[in-house]
């Protein structure tokens, strides 16, 4: 199982921003990123499950710093979590993140990860999910992948 390599991307602005971010960070740190996009949707729900976001995660020892933003949700955020599950397979909550009660804003946290969770992080088996008032089961979601 292999995730697609990329030769070109329309999100080149993100890449610019990201490479800046990487060069600033010390070499010992490992950086990860999650793209947030709408939870599973249908033609009937596509206008009520909306928004996007991008979250950067930096691992220093066992400390994971989470910092990102989101926008365009259909209603205000109520909760945000890190879950444990391999790509495209939902799993349990393993950590809380901080979000404002707003349809757009920052998502942050400073977490101590167990060795198992570090292992999960390295196996692409953590994802971030933001819940909203009208989408209690979650409105935005994104798996965390290493930036290389």
């Amino acid at each position: 199982m292999k995730l697609g390599r990329k030769t070109f991307s329309i999100t080149y602005t993100f890449i610019l921003v990201a490479s800046l971010f990487i060069s600033v960070a010390a070499q010992a740190q490992e950086t990860y990123r999650a793209r947030l996009s709408p939870m599973p949707t249908t033609p009937q729900t596509k206008d009520t499950i909306t928004g996007e976001g991008e979250v950067f995660l930096t691992l220093n020892g066992n400390t994971l710093s989470v910092s990102g933003n989101y926008s365009g949700m259909s209603s205000v955020a109520t909760m945000a979590h890190i879950h444990n599950g391999p790509p495209a397979q939902p799993g349990p909550v393993v950590a809380q993140l901080v979000v404002p009660a707003s349809t757009a804003g920052e998502v942050t946290a400073e977490l101590e990860l167990s060795d198992e969770l570090i292992e999960a992080l390295k196996n692409n088996s953590l994802y971030i999910q933001i819940h909203s008032e009208t989408n209690a089961p979650g409105e935005l979601r994104g798996w965390v992948f290493a930036r290389n």
Binding site: T7, P43, A88
Partner: protein, 714 residues
Amino acid sequence: MKITTIISSKAIRRTLLISSITVVLAACGSEQESAAPATTSAVAELTGFETQVAQGADLFATNCAACHGTNLEGTTLGPILSGNTFLQRWGSGTPTPLLNSIQTNMPPGGGSSLTADDYLSLTAHILSENGMDTVTESLTASSDLVIQDNVSAIAARRQRPAPPAPEGVTVAGNVDDFVPFVPVTDAILENPADGDWPMHRRTYDANSYSPLDEINTENVGQLKLEWVWNMHEGDSEPAPLVYNGIIYLINPGNVIQALDGKTGELIWENWAGPANRQDMRNIAIYGDNIIQATTDARVIALDARTGQQVWETEIAEFSKGFHNSSGPIVADGKVIQGLAGCWYYIPEDCYISALDANTGETQWQFETIAEMGQPGGDTWGGLDDVFRAGGETWITGSYDPELKLTYWGTAQQKPWVPVSRGMTIDDVGLYTNSTVAVNTDTGELDWFFQHVPAEALDLDEVFERVLVNRGDEKLVFSLGKYGILWKNDRVSGEFKGYKETVFQNAFTNIDPDTGEVTYREDIQNAGLNEWTSACPSSAGGKDWHSMTYHQPSGTMIAPLSQTCLENAAREVAMVQGSGGMAASRKFFEMPGTDGNLGKIGAYNVDTMEEVWSHEQRASFHTGTISTAGDLVFAGDLDREFKAFDVNTGEVLWKTRLGTVVQGHPVSFAIDGKQYIAVTSANGGTSPRAVPDVIATEIIYPRWGNAIYVFSLPE
């Protein structure tokens, strides 16, 4: 016959789903604005039926209108639910089959909490809109009225406000007035002139490769629009056919046009009917005739010079759900035609037909579903033959004239999830989701290879079979919705290798020696109404958009798509006439792709390694073609038509068309000058519908079917 990937069939876990199969509702049918009186008159007491109609109208607006239109008029996401064609299908019986069908299959997006009463109300609303206005009693699951007998005279008259659709030749002309027509022989089809594209994938090996090289990596940047021709509106994924400078173009609604390739001048047009907005991907040419399949499961030959009908054969009964969305290939003097819509529980199964190309007479039929007592018949969990459904051949096959074998992909079992079909993951269901190699003389199965047995997620392996020779090896390649590129020996069927072209998590193992797949455990055991999350989605890692084999570089270049789904099986009544798809689905971006839905991947056919890939937000909606000019062409949702360097994937040229670039590009030459043609179109089934709910920021006109022709400046 060699059997390669079969899990031996085992116990049958037959969940008898619906115990009470009482039937019959109340019915009638007519059309558009037969306004339900219930919604307007607040004073008068409503009849039971009117109450249902009023409730049904509200439920429809919330649950169905997004796809079927506010007035049932249909959208690109769902068909029209009123009018003659709809009544033809449902009118002759009671409302129960319609009720069952809706309850089992709608809304396909799922997650809705509609009750049995809600489904009765929805059925009442649809029937009322279709003119059933003589009924007063509430519909029940056992109403025994016949729909068409209850469409009032007034309503029946409203059925016919539209002028009759054209039939037959609507524009008369003769190809001979442009270029003398040369009858098409087997030899021509086996070795077409460099400048022709005389069948759906140009050659029998389905390589979608043009030996023309006037347009190449050096000069492609100068490509200019030569002419454009607006096509009939509707769902469309067309593969134009070009022979001797004339373009034969299949339009939605079973309309064929002959156009002068040089100037875009219309020569003739024929309407074979039915005059709908439905899709047909390709047509064929042989002898003096153009040969088309129709959306109502007929095959018709038209005089290629004039468009006049020569012969017609009904290959299956449309009223039983059979239809076609792809046309034939002519091989060895026979018109070889697949069949779609085989998902109902009826005695008839799906088959591939061979007709005499000169007369239309049926020569043989190859059934894709093994029945009880036949070889492979014990792979259906002991189900009665009536309940063995699926195995459609909705994409046209290829042909090896030396081996006299025609290669087709078959679709999966229906309904989509084992538990819905009263089966388990061990009931592999031959010959579904397989490559079948059928002898063109006899119609007999030479070999088969079942790529994904007991398919469980609506991810079929039905697409084109690309024939490739490497040294002494005769190979056949295919790429199904799981995004796995399969390599098989095409003489024996033997498994030769595979490559995952996009992320998939449906299989935990693919045996590198046998190609045998193992489903993830929760997919194996998925129960009714349980959500399973998997990649890719039913839009396919790859779908109907054909891939190309570039002979000079030995690479297969495929249009791919990166989305995932959540799927939940629904209950299906084990009664004759039931069946269908029976799953609810939701869609999301594929993790790890950065939201890039579109991918073109190039694979070395010897090593099966990825040579390059191009990823972008907009999904691709054309097949890929390659040329001797070392170019690959493909078009996307964001209206861009692009030329790539076949060796590096670099985009060398792009232009923007009126709407989504959709169909199958072709290249041809007239008087030594090379042209590239491509269509823009609407419709496109799930590969279009899924990006529409995920990449909602990509806006394009919902009309604008057309063919665009490009060339280099003089």
